[in-house]
């Protein structure tokens, strides 16, 4: 017997100054369809959000901006194998990551053969042919097993170990006689057009490069010892506003060049007002990859979303109508999407809704981040040295006591580490 029903819903209209959604009826993407029934309609609250219990997750409301970032993938070739690692795909606003699948091909661009690997961040592909280039992507699956994001492609060519190899390392004065020429790492991804991209290796600035007019960058590092590294990548926009750092671990293998692909630096974000009169617009702007789709999220008691497009210089601007916002503190952050790649969210920038508007003062200095103790526009070893001198000492200078609790302790160092530029 085939059982079928349709639920008709008379819904509330949603409108703003530039759009109206009339009598919205939700079609939950086929998730509620089987061979013997289909369910069309609203089955939950209208406000976006996730209701959770010990036995179920309910993603209710308009899921028009579910979010998942695409993973950054690292490929390290070995003997008849390639070791893959990837960063966590961060999901929110209606999506939850439940696992990953590795797509493998010997042809650039696919088609790929996918293997589910579970909710892990590493997989080694074995029984490969030495000398043959292999191409990999990582797919992200949601709680229902649907693919919700796919990484950019990375490649690696398995290689047989050289006879008598092993090598080792040399360096400044110690060590043996072999060279590092085959040991290194290549980074590629998107930043902002013609922006400076900085790569930190274990918290110290290792290399900088300039992104192309298409926002893409590619840079390599050599002379590395085998071992675990933490790499961080950040960029600065045309107003010298820094992005948040994107940090990921990589194990460097001796004699192998590791490829890290799909880095998508989060947009920068700034506001024209620190306080906005309720009902007035607040300008939300910044820079991201050329011609990318920018999603703006305003965090309030209820979350609001808007979309705009970056121009040929990667600049975006959106005038947000604050009429629906309550009086009080709010914040906004943005993410970017381009060619199926999705960046992480930017840093959140706070603002206040009040009875008057206060314009943001033009920044006298761009180096205004907490932790820049010696005000040289960098947060690095020098700032750490100064702070370490005052660690657990009485009466530290106010510029070093970053959380203003009268002492320099681990919290101050954590704030410094968050803003670290190397």
């Amino acid at each position: 017997m085939v059982f079928s029903f349709t639920l008709t819903v008379w819904a509330q209209d949603f409108s703003s100054s530039n759009f109206t959604v009339t009598a919205p009826v939700l079609f939950p993407g086929g998730y509620s369809t089987s061979t013997n029934f289909s369910l069309t309609g609203v089955i939950s609250q209208m406000a976006i959000g996730t209701s959770t219990a010990t036995t179920f997750d309910l993603f209710g409301g308009f899921l028009y901006f579910p979010f998942v970032s695409t993973p950054t993938v690292t490929a390290t070739a070995g003997n008849t194998q390639v070791a893959l690692t990837w960063t966590t795909a961060d999901a929110s606003t209606g999506w939850a990551v439940s696992g990953y699948a590795v797509g493998q091909s010997t042809t650039a661009g696919g088609p790929y053969t996918y293997s589910d690997v579970g909710n892990v961040l590493a997989s080694t592909r074995t029984s490969l042919t030495n000398g043959t280039p292999y191409y990999f992507v990582i797919r992200v699956t949601d709680a229902l097993g649907f693919y919700i994001a796919t990484s950019t492609e990375v490649s690696a060519t398995p290689t047989a170990p050289a006879a008598g190899g092993g090598g080792g390392s040399s360096g400044g004065g110690g060590g043996g006689g072999a060279s590092y020429t085959q040991t290194g790492i290549v980074f590629s991804g998107r930043a902002y057009p013609l922006s400076r991209v900085s790569i930190l290796k274990d918290a110290q600035l290792a290399v900088t490069t300039i992104a192309g007019p298409d926002s893409k960058f590619k840079v390599n590092l050599s002379n590395l010892s085998p071992g675990n590294y933490l790499f961080s990548v950040y960029s600065e926009d045309s107003n010298q506003i820094r992005s948040n750092s994107f940090t990921f671990p990589v194990y460097i293998t001796n004699g192998v060049v590791t490829e890290v692909g799909g880095i998508f630096i989060a947009p920068t974000v700034a506001l024209d007002k620190s306080q906005v009169r309720k009902g007035d617009d607040i300008a939300i702007f910044g820079q991201t990859a050329v011609a990318s789709d920018v999603t703006i999220q305003v965090n309030s008691e209820q979350q609001f979303f808007a979309q705009t497009k970056a121009d040929a210089n990667g600049i975006y601007l959106y005038n947000f109508d604050t009429t629906p916002l309550e009086y009080g503190n709010h914040s906004t952050k943005t993410k970017s999407a381009k060619d199926a790649e999705i960046s992480p969210y930017s840093l959140a920038v706070p603002f206040v809704v009040g009875n008057t508007s206060i314009l943001v003062k033009p920044r006298e200095k761009v180096c205004d981040k907490r932790g820049d103790v010696n005000t040289d526009c960098r947060i690095n070893l020098v700032d750490f040295s100064i702070a370490a001198y005052w660690y657990k000492r009485a009466a530290p200078p106010a510029s070093i006591d970053l959380n203003k609790d009268g002492k320099v302790d681990l919290i101050d160092f954590s704030i410094m580490a968050f803003n670290w530029t190397g």
């Binding site: 004065g173 110690g174 071992g227 940090t247 671990p249 001198y389």
Partner: protein, 254 residues
């Protein structure tokens, strides 16, 4: 204060009292943290030979793990940018038996989230057996930085330096200051960052050597603030002397 969840997991333990190595690991779960501190109480009867920080997820030590008189190892450090997952913090080499190991305990663990506010989050720490690996690689290349600040050392110039070692970890740093030549063996003295430069050293070239626990070392150098000016003045004086000598030679030959 948030309650920290700490667990001590011991497995693959040596049966007899033999030299062995343990690694102290952190599992951050879903949280990305950038700062960590805590203490490990070493039970009586256990002898600790050495502590290794090589390959640690902690990149900058505020307090390197050191065994104190109270048989406690205190440690505190940072990883700018943060990390999430399971990583080694440091390893311990010593002699212990199974009963002793069950009495290792963690206390005062503080792990702070990479959120710009230093929010405390729960993490799990554990100890597991580890292999003793050979270390033939020197420490990583690094760049010392010379600077001055009104906040420390009465505004005097100081040099900051830091590097990592992927094998056994950094044993010590050494410093030498020279005018022109490379430092000799006797010029090196042990040093800790940050280090105040003497009046003479601000005119010299400062050499820093990072030595790992296996004796491999990485040597780098940087010019102190007035080094190049000193070289230039020295060169000008030398040229003047040469010109004077030339003139006197000419006048005497005429």
């Amino acid at each position: 204060m948030k309650k920290l969840i700490i667990s001590l997991v011991l497995f693959s333990l040596p049966i007899s009292l033999e030299a062995a190595r343990l690694v102290v690991e952190i599992d951050t779960g879903i949280e990305t943290i950038n700062a960590l501190e805590g203490m490990i109480k070493v039970p009586s009867g256990v002898s600790i030979h050495d502590i290794y920080t090589g390959n640690s997820v902690i990149l900058i030590w505020i307090a390197e793990p050191t065994l104190n008189d109270a048989n406690t190892i205190f440690f505190a450090g940072l990883s700018p940018g943060g990390f999430r997952g399971i990583y080694p913090i440091f390893s311990i080499e010593g002699k212990w038996g199974e009963r002793d190991l069950s009495r290792f305990s963690f206390s005062s663990i503080s792990a702070l989230k990479n959120d710009g506010s230093g929010t405390a989050v729960p993490v799990k720490l554990r100890v597991k057996s580890s292999e003793v690996a050979e270390d033939e690689a020197p420490p990583e290349p690094f760049t010392p930085i010379i600077s001055a600040s009104v906040d420390i050392f009465d505004g005097k110039y100081f040099i900051s330096f830091l590097t990592q070692d992927k094998g056994t970890g950094i044993e010590r740093y050494e410093k030498a200051a020279t005018w022109f030549l490379k430092p000799g063996r006797s010029d090196w003295i042990e040093a800790k960052s940050p280090l105040v430069l003497s009046r003479a050293e601000v005119f010299q070239r400062i050499h820093i050597r990072a030595v790992d626990k296996s004796g491999n070392y990485m040597e780098v150098s940087t010019a102190a603030p007035y080094h190049y000016a000193t070289l230039l003045i020295g060169l000008i004086i030398l040229l003047c002397v040469l010109l004077l000598l030339r003139r006197s030679f000419r006048s005497s030959s005429q």
